[in-house]
């Protein structure tokens, strides 16, 4: 068991530290006194587990710390919704198991479990395991459930960093890139964007937006652009954290996450709306936003390759991004103000919300700074390549995004909003498992004759199997 750290580690570690500090500060305000103690313990433990996973020197230690962070996050989600928490725990255990199989296979080939590139066919296992962690479709079914039903600080840690551990693993396992990943990444970007555009719930929208951003990072990992993916991960941690924290305050103040009910909330919660708007801008990829430099770096690395469809698809996805971001922010500002329950809001206004505001303001400041230059981030050793897209392109994207947003909101007014996702498949699989369990239980009817018959049957099978052909 050993630990190591290079510049890649430091980028992710600083992202984890900044995000966890903000979440811990936020939690001072968010939780009641009886939950405070356990939240502090769990969040600090989760932070320590993140750092342990990042500084791990071999895959075994990595998986151990990733599972420990899963446990901490599971308890945090369970504060609010136990079923979503159980789903999260079970899925993450499965993913960790797949990574372990990949690591074991790599150890067979290379003779060591040290954190290095995966070998041969074992890369598929590693990719599947990391895909469960980073929400590859169709393994992403847990993401909207867990991220939207968790309390806000837990959602921030989940979307902000926990999913990045999968990206980190991919960067370590596939330093030269891995064939299917760019295609999977583009699928994630588009699928996440569409689902976000048509979602009815603010936090669900943010969860799908996480999936979309993860697609960028996955595609970048797939072509081997390690530094660009890491930079994107860092910035994403910050702005997704900000978005979820602001959404959490909004939810606590109004009691709802439903976008339709949150119309016009800007008049009652101007600060939160401002934070949400800033976070949305930071995630858009527009010039001067925090994600402009990382996105540009990823696109520039892709332009250097011979596959033109990849950067083109990603560039065009900017329209989707603009559309769903507008859908998240515009109704809050322009809609007709509805009746909002104000009792909880007044109660919360009296208690000190300084920690929450300080956390969000800190994240905002860092994001604003990242919009201009990235040299301050620990671990960035060289200035990232700049994309050659003209500014006019971004304006065009903003315009088309706006049009798409208008079309989508018109569609959402007439149709029921919220597209179905693969969650139904999960339920079917669970039903299958329980059905096979029932079938087995019929065999255990207590009938001794049947048991002896099975013995005879197995004996004949063994005679056949051991024939020695």
């Amino acid at each position: 068991m050993n630990f190591a750290g290079d510049s890649l580690t430091w980028i992710f570690a600083s992202a984890a530290t900044l995000l966890s500090a903000a979440v811990l500060l936020f939690g001072e305000w968010y939780f009641d006194a009886n939950r405070q103690g356990s939240f502090r313990l769990l969040a600090a433990g989760c932070w320590a587990a993140f750092l342990g996973a990042l500084f791990a020197g071999d895959w075994l230690v990595f998986v151990v710390f990733v599972e420990l962070s899963t446990l901490a996050l599971w308890r945090m989600i369970a504060f609010r919704d136990r079923k979503a928490a159980t789903l999260y725990l079970l899925v993450q255990l499965a993913g960790a198991g797949l990574v372990l199989i990949g690591a074991a296979g790599t150890a067979t080939v290379t003779g060591t479990v040290a954190m290095g590139p995966a070998a041969g066919a074992w890369r598929w296992f590693m990719a599947a395991g990391f895909g469960v962690k980073s929400a590859f479709p169709p393994l992403h079914f847990w993401l909207p459930e867990a991220h939207s039903k968790a309390p806000a600080p837990a959602s921030a840690m989940l979307s902000g960093f926990a999913v990045k551990l999968g990206i980190y693993g991919m960067l370590r396992a596939f330093p030269e890139g891995f064939g299917p990943l760019p295609a999977i990444g583009v699928t994630m970007v588009i699928f996440g964007g569409i689902m976000a555009l048509f979602s009815a719930d603010l936090k669900r929208l943010l969860a799908y937006s996480t999936m979309s951003h993860l697609g960028f990072m996955t595609a970048s990992a797939g072509i081997g652009a390690v530094a660009a993916a890491a930079l994107y991960a860092f910035v994403h941690a910050l702005f997704k954290g900000l978005l979820f924290l602001a959404a959490g305050v909004t939810e606590k103040a109004t009691g709802t996450r439903d976008l339709a009910s949150l119309r016009g909330i800007a008049r009652t919660l101007p600060g939160m709306t401002a934070f949400l708007a800033f976070g949305a801008f930071a995630s858009s990829g527009f010039p001067l936003s925090a994600s402009y430099i990382p996105k540009g770096a990823i696109l520039a690395s892709m332009e250097a390759l011979q596959t033109p469809w990849l950067p083109t698809a990603l560039k065009l996805s900017g329209t989707l991004t603009a559309a769903y971001l507008l859908r998240a922010v515009v109704p809050l500002v322009t809609g007709r103000q509805e009746e909002h329950p104000t009792e909880t809001r007044n109660a919360k206004k009296d208690t000190s919300k300084m920690p929450a505001w300080a956390a969000m303001a800190g994240l905002t400041a860092l994001l604003a700074a990242s919009g201009f230059f990235t040299a301050w981030i620990p671990g960035i050793t060289a200035s990232p390549p700049v994309s050659k897209t003209p500014f006019f392109f971004y304006l065009l994207q903003a315009a088309t995004g706006f049009a798409l947003f208008l079309a989508a909101s018109r569609a959402c007014r007439s149709l029921p909003c919220g597209l179905p996702d693969t969650f139904g498949l999960t339920l079917k699989t669970t039903k299958c498992v329980f059905a096979s369990s029932d079938l087995l239980a019929r065999m255990h009817g207590g009938l001794l004759n049947f048991y002896a018959l099975v013995v005879l049957f197995l004996f004949l099978v063994l005679m056949l199997a051991l024939c020695g052909w």
Binding site: L68, T86, T108, S437
Partner: protein, 487 residues
């Protein structure tokens, strides 16, 4: 000499206890405690005597071809330590509960221990059968000891199925004798390859099916859930923790000595049965309402884990299997003891009625949580390390399906252990009176602590190197044969 003592000493206690009861009844309590302590020490001493090299005892001075031989090597030593620890813990739990009151229980207990040691040190097929039958008879008696209708029914079904298994083993031994004229395992290891292949098939099939029935591997495991759930607490812990492992030792010894070159398909069979046990055990445990029956099905699944390790036929696999056997003894022993005490408190074994126990007995519930986390495979506990080494060995041997089954098993077992835990921690009305459970509590906590320690030390290379010598020694059949066949 030591291996013989390991068998004779507990057996003699079995015969002396009735005499003590008849003639010196007042001394019975202390006598039984002393006897158990001496057996424990003798078993451990035998284990250590075999650790450095092969400790071979020729009974009556006859050489291997003519007489009975007892051999202790590293594999036997590891299982002897396991048997000593498990029996010692079960003894403490039952002694703490009812002192020496049913002295017949202790007679059977010591006979069981003597027969277990016999299986672990024997070097001869027929002696294996004889000790196996004494061991099984004692087990049938212990299961039905409480005389409740569940215990009797479970005991009878265990008896019928177990005896069928024993007769298959005897049939296999008969064929071995007919084919080669020898019954000593070392001599057979040399002469079985010359037997005709059809005979080898029949021998392998008979021995394997007999041993699978005794181990409780799916699909011939049907006696196991009944027996392990109907027995009293200490007996369940003993059965799940130790009895099953001794049978797995017998399977490992027989397969490694006889089938490595002659029928390598036997190892594939063992791996397949292991995978079936993992899936079958976990799937059945999903729908159980009775906590002890759930734990019994979880045992079936864990047996599958160990069988996939044995089925690789490599040193790494055997080491991982032995390590997991130790882990399972600690985890399942502790779980059964806790479940037994908690269900006795609440007068029910139904999981949904075992509520509010965290306030009532926090120590037990916390220990249960640690043990459940260990058996599911949560790092950094020993179950996770066992799972990792099993995965490593399976993948090394090319069995990817076992590795996938191990991963799937984690998810399913997490689901049903979570159900128990959420029931234990949920608010409820605790029972009014509280009887102190001195020894069960201490044993459970010790096991939980061992789980944590084993998990952490398995990380350390020097400890694991010492453990992996078990595997290499188990596979080293040439050294075994050379040690036994000295003229």
């Amino acid at each position: 000499m030591m291996p013989v003592l390991a068998v004779i000493v507990p057996m003699s206690w079995g015969f002396i206890i009735p005499l003590v009861y008849l003639f010196r009844r007042k001394l019975l309590d202390q006598a039984i405690l002393l006897f158990a302590f001496i057996s424990f020490m003798v078993t451990l001493a035998t284990a250590f005597s075999g650790w450095q090299g092969y400790n071979v005892a020729f009974l009556g001075g006859w050489s291997a071809g003519l007489g009975i031989v007892f051999v202790v090597d590293k594999l036997s030593a590891a299982f002897l330590v396991l048997a000593a620890t498990g029996s010692g813990a079960a003894f403490l739990v039952s002694y703490g509960r009812f002192r020496a009151d049913p002295w017949r229980y202790y007679v059977i207990f010591f006979l069981l221990q003597s027969a277990m040691n016999g299986i672990l040190v024997t070097g001869d097929m027929f002696t294996l059968f004889v000790f196996y039958e004494i061991f099984s008879l004692a087990a049938y008696l212990l299961v039905s000891f409480t005389m409740s209708w569940q215990a009797i029914e479970a005991g009878l079904k265990y008896l019928v199925l177990g005896t069928i298994g024993a007769f298959f083993i005897l049939l296999g031994t008969a064929y071995i004798f007919m084919a080669t004229g020898a019954l000593n395992m070392a001599i057979l290891s040399v002469s079985l390859p010359q037997a005709p292949p059809e005979t080898l098939t029949v021998i392998a099939a008979c021995l394997l099916i007999g041993l699978f029935i005794k181990i409780g591997a799916f699909p011939v495991h049907f006696w196991l859930p009944d027996a392990h759930s109907s027995a009293q607490t200490a007996v369940s812990a003993l059965l799940s923790g130790v009895v099953v492992k001794v049978s797995i030792y017998a399977l490992a010894r027989v397969s490694l000595l006889f089938f490595l070159e002659t029928r390598p398909a036997a190892f594939t069979v063992i791996t397949s049965i292991g995978i079936l046990s993992i899936l079958g055990g976990h799937l059945m445990a999903l729908r159980q309402e009775d906590i002890k029956r759930l734990l019994a099905f979880s045992t079936v699944a864990q047996i599958g884990y160990i069988l996939t390790g044995v089925g690789t036929g490599t040193a790494a696999g055997i080491t991982a299997a032995v390590f997991h056997a130790f882990n399972h003894m600690f985890m399942k022993g502790g779980l059964f003891i806790t479940a037994g005490q908690l269900s006795e408190d609440m007068k029910t074994r139904n999981i949904s009625q075992l509520r509010g126990l965290y306030r009532h007995r926090p120590g037990f519930v916390i220990a249960f949580t640690v043990l459940a986390a260990a058996i599911v495979g949560i790092p950094p506990l020993n179950g996770f390390m066992g799972k990792w080494y099993l995965m490593l060995a399976s993948v090394d041997a090319g069995n990817i399906v076992s590795a996938l089954a191990l991963a799937a098993g984690t998810v399913i077992s997490a689901f049903y252990y979570l159900r128990i835990l959420s029931s234990l921690y949920s608010p409820g009305v605790p029972p009014s009176r509280r009887k102190p459970f001195y020894w069960p509590f201490r044993v459970t906590v010790t096991f939980a602590v061992f789980c944590v320690l084993l998990g952490l030390t398995a990380f350390m290379p020097p400890v694991w190197k010492a453990f992996s010598t078990i595997g290499t020694c188990a596979l080293d059949t040439t050294a075994y044969i050379a040690a036994v066949l000295v003229e």
